[in-house]
């Protein structure tokens, strides 16, 4: 019998400010599962319920109706051990400011492991390791003050703080927003290594379709508080009718290939990298050349 998924969401609903004139339905009947070791992307318009959904994964929000089962534990039960749950599920928020509260970078990243009661040596090892993963130089940055950091650097500190807890499941809300192109590429590379080599289960919310195409094994598309579509990046980004119906963005390369395809050029639209796309377009250009040679 196959192992149970590490995350199971069944028919989950959530309404903000229920019973007031400002009532707002954020989730209605969402379903989702994540197998251990998978890398899952959640995409969808602003306001589609993505952030509300992932806050259920570590018990920040408890299911109002429906089921949330994390690693076999049903979070609708009253007696959930939140401490072990949050050690298991590391959640990195969209705004890094929300989870940085120490004055010094090293202290901030050490906070979690320290609270776990780990020996000091182990805490230091973990801080060093986590800083390395996110691309912050340990010696240079550990004693810096957190308030003087740029937005991108704060993001890295927040992520390092979660990684230092060595979670089993890493949940990221827009992991690369605010990072420069090089830091973005490096961080995506590191997440890929954590997922593929260290077998960390990763769930990330993103509006960057390049990183969805590059990282995700499967994609869930959210709209109006529910999961409207799921599949591999290839399945999602090549279904033009669905892309349009759900207003899903595509990687920039795919966008161009669709434009060319609409203009009557014979191109495949599932080239996610710049190199693949260039090759595909070269076929069009070289193709016309071949015709000319033939006619001559």
């Amino acid at each position: 019998m196959p192992a149970r998924p590490i995350i199971e969401i069944e028919n989950l609903s959530h309404t903000y400010m229920k019973g007031t004139p400002m009532e707002h339905v954020a989730l209605k009947g969402t379903n989702l599962y994540v197998e251990e070791g998978e890398c899952i992307a959640i995409i969808g318009h602003t306001g589609s319920g993505k952030s509300t959904l992932i806050q259920h994964f570590n018990g920040l929000m408890r299911p109002e109706s429906g089921k949330v089962i994390i690693d076999g534990e049903d979070l609708s039960q009253k007696k959930v051990n939140l401490k072990t749950l949050r050690q298991k599920v590391g959640l990195v928020f969209q705004n890094p400011e929300d989870q940085i509260f120490e004055k010094i970078i090293g202290d901030d990243i050490a906070y979690g492991p320290f609270k776990l009661g780990l020996p000091l040596k182990e805490v230091r090892e973990r801080v060093k390791w986590a800083m390395e993963v996110v691309g912050l130089d340990f010696e240079e940055m550990k004693d810096r003050q957190t308030f003087a950091l740029s937005g991108g650097q704060k993001r890295k500190v927040a992520l390092a703080g979660i990684l230092a807890l060595k979670p089993k499941i890493l949940v990221l809300d827009e992991p690369t927003a605010g990072l420069d192109p090089k830091s973005r590429k490096e961080l995506l590379g590191k997440i890929k290594v954590l997922n593929k080599e260290e077998k960390l289960t990763v769930v990330f919310v993103s509006h960057n379709m390049e990183e969805v195409a590059m990282l995700a094994d499967r994609v869930y598309v959210m709209a109006d508080g529910t999961d409207v579509l799921s599949g591999t990046p290839k399945e999602i980004f090549t279904d033009k009718e669905k892309l349009q119906r759900h207003q899903i963005g595509t990687p920039e390369t795919v966008k161009i290939l669709y434009r060319l395809s609409d203009l009557g050029y014979k191109v495949k639209t599932d080239a996610f990298s710049i190199h693949e796309a260039a090759e595909e377009i070269m076929k069009v250009l070289a193709g016309t050349k071949e015709v000319s040679n033939y006619v001559k």
């Binding site: 318009h45 602003t46 306001g47 993505k50 004693d143 827009e174 090089k182 710049i274 250009l285």
Partner: protein, 286 residues
């Protein structure tokens, strides 16, 4: 033409502990003319955000001066005029949303400067309409998603009718549709005469501007129109930046077909070049 913002020999450093200071801006000078659309790019920690916070006196220089329409940003008594001339939209809207209802939040700045009620209502409606948030006017902002909150924050600044808006990585939390909308709003506002300064990590976004300033280690290392800046692929990569995906694609194709232009920065140009090339070849055949 008189510059709207003039930055003269500005240096600034953050104190990181009792003994050490980190120098963030090092003797920077440039000016921004009314009606310009300027993108500031640079890697994380290069100083671009610190620089943008100097443009309306949120931060004031350790050395040098910043002038906004002739007022020195150090002059405490001119803060109001300076902020009314140059508004800022930040990366995290949570930091600038204050009210419990969207339309009240947009009206907040107007109430502070005593705009009459009828005028205030009109300006709030216009601003919310511009950012496509009118249907959300009676919602509490803290239950909106990041992108929606950001659009409310932009509306709040828009309602103040400044001459210049500084967007400090204001689109980095938006999805591709949200970003497209905001970029469109920026372009429309610029066409209507508003000066735009945008700090961004998205090269395709910088390509929309008329001028790009590249910051590295607290200094300006490049300053020019996007087409010129994006010709320096290697230098930009050394600065931990990149050229837009379109330029990368054009570069790769140019490597195999010399006639295909490599100086393309926008999608429409790229498509046109493919068309031109394909048709040109067809013509040869005929």
């Amino acid at each position: 033409m008189e510059p709207i913002i003039s930055v003269e020999n500005v240096s600034f450093s953050y104190k990181i502990n009792e003994k050490t200071k980190v120098s963030v801006l090092k003797n920077i000078s440039f000016s921004i003319l009314p009606g310009e659309y300027v993108a500031i790019i640079g890697h994380n920690g290069s100083g671009k955000s610190t620089l943008s916070k100097h443009l309306n006196g949120i931060l004031t220089p350790d050395e040098g001066d910043v002038w906004v329409r002739g007022y020195n940003t150090r002059e405490q008594t001119k803060k109001r005029e300076i902020r009314r001339t140059v508004g800022t939209v930040f990366q995290h809207p949570d930091n600038q949303i204050v009210a419990t209802i969207v339309e009240e939040d947009v009206a907040f700045g107007l109430e502070n400067i005593g705009v009459p009620r009828e005028e205030m209502k009109k300006r709030v409606d216009e601003a919310l309409e511009t950012v496509n948030m009118l249907p959300f006017r009676l919602r509490p902002p803290h239950h909106l998603s990041g992108g929606q909150k950001q659009r409310v924050a932009i509306a709040g600044v828009l309602a103040m009718k400044p001459d210049c808006i500084v967007f400090d990585e204001a689109t980095s939390m938006l999805d591709s549709f949200g970003r497209k909308e905001v970029l469109q709003v920026m372009r429309e506002m610029n066409n209507a005469g508003m000066t735009i300064v945008t700090v961004t990590h998205h090269m395709s976004e910088a390509a929309e501007a008329d001028r790009i300033i590249v910051i590295e280690d607290g200094q300006i290392v490049m300053d020019g129109p996007p087409r010129e800046i994006f010709q320096h692929k290697q230098e930009l990569e050394e600065l931990q930046l990149e050229v837009p995906a379109i330029s990368q694609l054009a570069g790769l194709i140019n490597g195999q077909l010399n006639d295909f232009s490599k100086d393309l920065i926008k999608e429409a140009e790229f498509i046109a070049e493919v068309e031109k090339f394909a048709k040109g070849v067809r013509k040869e055949v005929g």
